[in-house]
């Protein structure tokens, strides 16, 4: 704006345009450059690390406090809804981890060249996220020490949760071995470990789906849908997560992406578009088949589509988690890095609520719903408590700090094309 403009009679639409332009040019770019400055500057790197460590510490204290006073008092879970946000956050982390493992394997195990540049970081992050998941579930299991003992000496071989835990344990070890071999530049053994990790990860993850899918008393979950959906959804999460963290990683080291990395992100964007489509397809058919199901299933879907979970479903899951990112990926064709970064961030945010809604909604319809008794007529309430949210933040902060630490320690996870 210049002086002569100010002298003119005020035209409202011009003024609005000016204002919005100046907002865009000053605030948004300023915000952006501030963020970038923070991520790359040495001082702010330590500030971020300190903040992250503080949240981890606070979350761990909250978790220990919950252990001390008893989960029944500390958490918002009830007899009817005994799996809350901690279970859904655990699911969120292990879905992400499995997805990262699958994405990394496309390059490292199956040799697709475009997927190689991101693979090292993906392997590192898959370890970080599985550890974050295990940390969160540590504060959910009432007797974690007994778990370590009786999982081994009294295994329940018909139990999906036993298989899931055992396979994820193996998975974590394989991924760590793969990462070590990658650091040693021993690609032959890294590939073997990666393949073992991939197989155990997929087996573990489909078992996670089956934990819910094999509960025949829970109509909303029961069936072969969830193990399949979980795998598709994992790959989608993996794509979003690796785009998100690769972009951030380059900001931290304030380096410019080389050509293979840009091409790699482009390829992942395309895979991400495909996976969003597949997940949308699965969701659509889940809804359509569910609507002709029993009253309990219909009640759950009603809660999701027009009831108390409608905002979560339509706005957080469908719009922010799937449709807007789809549009952003599609229009940018994976070429505009900032756009696909925003899309991937939105997806991760939306996917978190996908897990939450899946876990809570499956229990929100009471098991005695169809009996028509006064006690169980409608959707049961659940609200995460302070302690639960603090532990969720612990998991997030643990991931974040491990990530920025990893970027520095492993120098941006550089790897040669081989």
């Amino acid at each position: 704006m210049n002086g002569s403009n100010e002298m003119k009679p005020v035209n409202t639409s011009d003024l609005m345009k000016d204002l919005s332009q100046s907002f865009k040019s000053s605030f948004l770019t300023h915000w952006y450059s501030t963020l970038v400055g923070y991520l790359s500057g040495t001082k702010s790197f330590y500030i971020l690390l300190a903040v992250g460590a503080l949240i981890v510490y606070g979350g761990a204290m909250a978790g220990l406090d919950a252990m001390r006073i008893g989960y029944r008092h500390a958490y918002g879970v009830t007899r009817e809804i005994s799996w809350g946000i901690l279970i859904s956050t655990y699911v969120f982390f292990v879905v992400t981890s499995t997805g990262l493992c699958i994405v990394s394997s496309i390059g490292h195990v199956f040799g697709v060249k475009d997927f190689m540049p991101i693979a090292k970081r993906a392997v590192f992050l898959s370890i970080v996220t599985i550890v974050a998941g295990f940390t969160v579930i540590l504060f959910e299991i009432e007797n974690p020490f007994r778990m370590a003992l009786y999982n081994v000496i009294s295994p329940g071989l018909t139990s999906n949760i036993w298989w899931m835990g055992t396979l994820y344990g193996a998975y974590m070890i394989f991924m760590i071995i793969e990462f070590i071999f990658l650091q040693l530049e021993n690609h032959k053994f890294a590939t073997y470990a990666g393949l073992a990790g991939l197989l155990s990860g997929i087996a573990a993850h489909s078992n996670l789906g089956a934990i819910f899918g094999m509960l025949h008393g829970r109509e909303y979950w029961y069936g072969p849908y969830l193990p399949v959906y979980f795998i598709a959804s994992a790959l989608m999460s993996g794509c979003a997560t690796i785009i998100f963290f690769t972009w951030l990683g380059y900001k931290i080291t304030s380096e410019k992406m080389d050509r293979p990395m840009v091409r790699s992100l482009e390829a992942i964007s395309k895979l991400c578009i495909l996976m969003i489509s597949i997940v949308l397809f699965l969701i659509i058919w889940k809804i359509i088949t569910g609507l002709v199901g029993g009253p309990g299933k219909v009640e759950a879907l009603k809660a999701m589509l027009i009831g108390p979970y409608a905002f979560n479903f339509w706005v957080l899951e469908i719009m922010i988690g799937l449709l807007i990112p789809f549009a952003l990926f599609f229009t940018s064709k994976g070429k505009n890095l900032n756009t696909i970064f925003i899309a991937s961030a939105m997806m991760m945010f939306g996917i978190f609520f996908m897990r939450y809604d899946l876990v809570v909604l499956g229990q929100a319809v009471p098991v005695f719903y169809e009996l028509g008794v006064n006690e169980y007529k409608g959707i049961l309430p659940y609200m995460p408590s302070f302690h639960e949210i603090a532990i969720v933040l612990l998991g997030m902060a643990l991931t974040g700090t491990s990530f920025i630490l990893g970027e520095k320690v492993f120098r941006g996870h550089k790897s040669e094309i081989h």
């Binding site: 008893g70 989960y71 029944r72 007899r79 009817e80 005994s82 799996w83 959910e140 299991i141 009432e142 007797n143 974690p144 007994r146 778990m147 009786y150 999982n151 009294s154 295994p155 329940g156 018909t158 139990s159 999906n160 949760i161 036993w162 835990g165 934990i211 094999m214 509960l215 025949h216 008393g217 829970r218 029993g294 229990q363 009471p366 098991v367 005695f368 169809e370 009996l371 028509g372 008794v373 006064n374 006690e375 169980y376």
Partner: protein, 251 residues
């Protein structure tokens, strides 16, 4: 049926639904003390079950897998919601106030002719195909081979609550004091193993609503109630396929 002269007969506006549950329970307890057993519950059995579809012959197999094959038949129409069973259960089995092994559910049928309220006692169904046992990662919960009771090995429970989720009957809760999931065991530890023949709830019921016994014994009352075709016998949520051993009937 002989009509009893009750002090409430003159109170024209007095209906069940205008009395709170707690008030009714308290009142019923006073009444029970005075009159003793409630005439087998027939006073309250206003609704006919003749048009009720006969239950699929759940559990009516020739050979039962357990001996004794413990089972319970609940005369749903005899339950008057006095909750003596719930109290007896809590006392016998050390059930904390925040949990329960058995409870009474209430069902209103506003459009029904006559009595518009029913009470449905629920407890662990000691299923033949228990979803909770299948789901337990450490075999902390198991189907006892001898009695068919779904038992807990409290020491092995890791508290993952998968069994709580798996149970189609909401029969499980996490017991803080035991640091384990807790559930009805037909009073095995507290009564049956000590020579008693009744569960605490069945023994405490003043209306004879809960009949406990050995389903594999043709001389037992539960056997006779389940193995007949005149009256409908059903189980809760048969579609789950858990094959429960708690049966319901009216009349």
């Amino acid at each position: 049926m002989k009509k009893l002269k009750l002090p409430t007969d003159d109170m024209k506006q007095e209906r069940l639904d205008s009395v709170s549950t707690m008030e009714r329970r308290e009142f019923l307890k006073i009444g029970l003390v005075i009159t003793g057993v409630f005439a087998g519950g027939t006073i309250l059995s206003a609704m006919s079950n003749m048009n009720k579809v006969f239950a699929a012959h759940e559990g009516k197999v020739e050979k039962y897998p357990h001996k004794p094959h413990y089972s319970m038949v609940i005369h749903q129409d005899r339950c008057i919601d006095c909750e003596r069973c719930v109290e007896a259960c809590a006392k016998t089995n050390d059930v904390p106030a925040y949990g329960y092994r058995t409870r009474i559910l209430e069902k209103d049928s506003p459009d029904a002719i006559g009595l518009k309220k029913e009470f449905i006692p629920v407890l662990c169904n000691q299923c033949n195909n228990p979803p909770c046992v299948r789901a337990c990662p450490t075999r902390a919960t198991y189907k006892d081979k001898k009695t068919g009771i779904v038992m807990m090995d409290y020491e092995k429970c890791i508290g993952c609550k998968t069994c709580v989720e798996a149970c189609p009957y909401n029969a499980r809760y996490f017991n803080e004091e035991k640091r384990s999931v807790d559930k009805c065991s037909f009073c095995y530890e507290t009564r049956l193993s000590k020579g008693e023949t009744q569960t605490a709830c069945a023994a405490a019921c003043p209306a004879g609503a809960r009949i406990f016994g050995d389903l594999s014994d043709p001389k037992s009352e539960v056997f006779k109630l389940v193995h007949q075709v005149e009256k409908a016998v059903w189980v809760l949520r048969p579609e789950v396929g858990a094959e429960p051993n708690v049966f319901y009937m009216k009349g």
